[in-house]
């Protein structure tokens, strides 16, 4: 993707926006890009806990915008990954505290003054003001979709709204795919999703218990060796323009499956 500023969105809640933001952000930083992930879910912040940086929050995005601190003071540097930063949302305010135009200025400042290569914006669920503010500074979007009816429908709606907001580079991340169910014909495949939405996926992330384990301890899965973590890493590489084929997905149950992935799973 050429876009430096990318909004991560879905319309529907609970499909994995925050997990995707944390993991793609950490993966991009690992690949050498100076990356900041921004939580725009004012009043319901969660990117801080998913990334395991909650204890280090002092100032937030609203403090920056209201001039209570400098932009740099609100940025939390992730000590585990070089080049990775978090800009947290305020937990005590509501969505009206963030104006789209002022947010755009702050994002521009992150590019110009702090020299970030990539900015990922974690959008709140819904299609109202919170989403519109999150999308305002973005040239690109990652639309997170689960292969099930309401998520695909909402994704289609959000794609239309993104286009209306002049977000030109729109990519799809299919999250929580269950290969066994796809094989038995009880879940939409990537090809089905492509056919319905008309957008090729840039990432396909299998359902993986490892994601819950990694969020329990607050460590993005791309820093470990889970199947989903590797799929997120592949997604980040494709986002950077690398030609990474999609691996054949299989259920992560057996020891042999894990072994096979460890040696040939790239």
């Amino acid at each position: 993707m050429n876009a430096k500023v990318i909004v991560v969105t879905s319309g529907k809640g609970g499909v994995g926006k925050t997990t995707t933001t944390a993991n793609i952000g950490a993966a991009l930083a690992k690949l050498g890009e100076k990356t900041v992930v921004i939580d725009v879910d004012v009043g319901l912040r969660n990117l801080d806990v998913v990334m395991g940086l909650e204890s280090r929050v002092v100032f937030d995005l609203i403090d920056v915008i209201e001039g209570k601190c400098r932009l740099q003071q609100a940025l939390i540097r992730d000590k585990r990954v070089e080049n990775l930063y978090l800009l947290p949302a305020s937990q005590t305010r509501d969505k009206d505290a963030l104006d789209p135009e002022i947010f755009k200025t702050a994002v521009q400042q992150l590019l110009d003054e702090e020299g970030f290569d990539r900015i990922l914006i974690d959008s709140p669920a819904g299609i109202e003001s919170g989403f519109r503010t999150a999308a305002a500074p973005a040239q690109g979007a990652l639309v997170v979709v689960n292969p099930e009816v309401s998520s695909v429908r909402d994704a289609d709606r959000i794609i239309g709204l993104l286009e209306a907001q002049q977000v030109t580079e729109i990519n799809l991340v299919i999250n929580r795919l269950r290969p066994k169910m796809v094989a038995s014909g009880n879940m939409l495949s990537e090809a089905d999703v492509l056919e319905i939405l008309g957008i090729k996926p840039i990432g396909i992330i299998p359902e993986d218990e490892g994601i819950l384990v990694s969020t329990n301890v607050g460590e993005p899965a791309v820093l470990g060796k889970t199947v989903a973590g590797m799929a997120f890493m592949d997604t980040a590489r494709r986002l950077r323009g690398e030609n990474i084929p999609f691996p054949k997905l299989e259920e992560d149950n057996g020891f042999m499956g894990r072994l096979r992935r460890l040696f040939g799973g790239k």
Partner: protein, 84 residues
Amino acid sequence: MFSFLNRRRTKDTLKDRLEMVLAYDRAKIAPGKVDALRQDLLEVVKKYFPAEGSSIEVEQRGDTVVLVANIPLEEMQKDATKPQ
């Protein structure tokens, strides 16, 4: 990172993290700010006591969130009985 032993305990890690984060959310204060407050308070305390093992934490007690300062006196006694 996720060894066999570790995997059984991530739930406990999560509970600890959630208890902490909810205490701060309910108190409407950023965890990092309490960190700064802790440093400042310990500086002041140290002026009067040789309080090495002191800790200051935000805790949830029933319906209220309290700031708890823990300054152990044993440390001071140990110091006092030390031969000069």
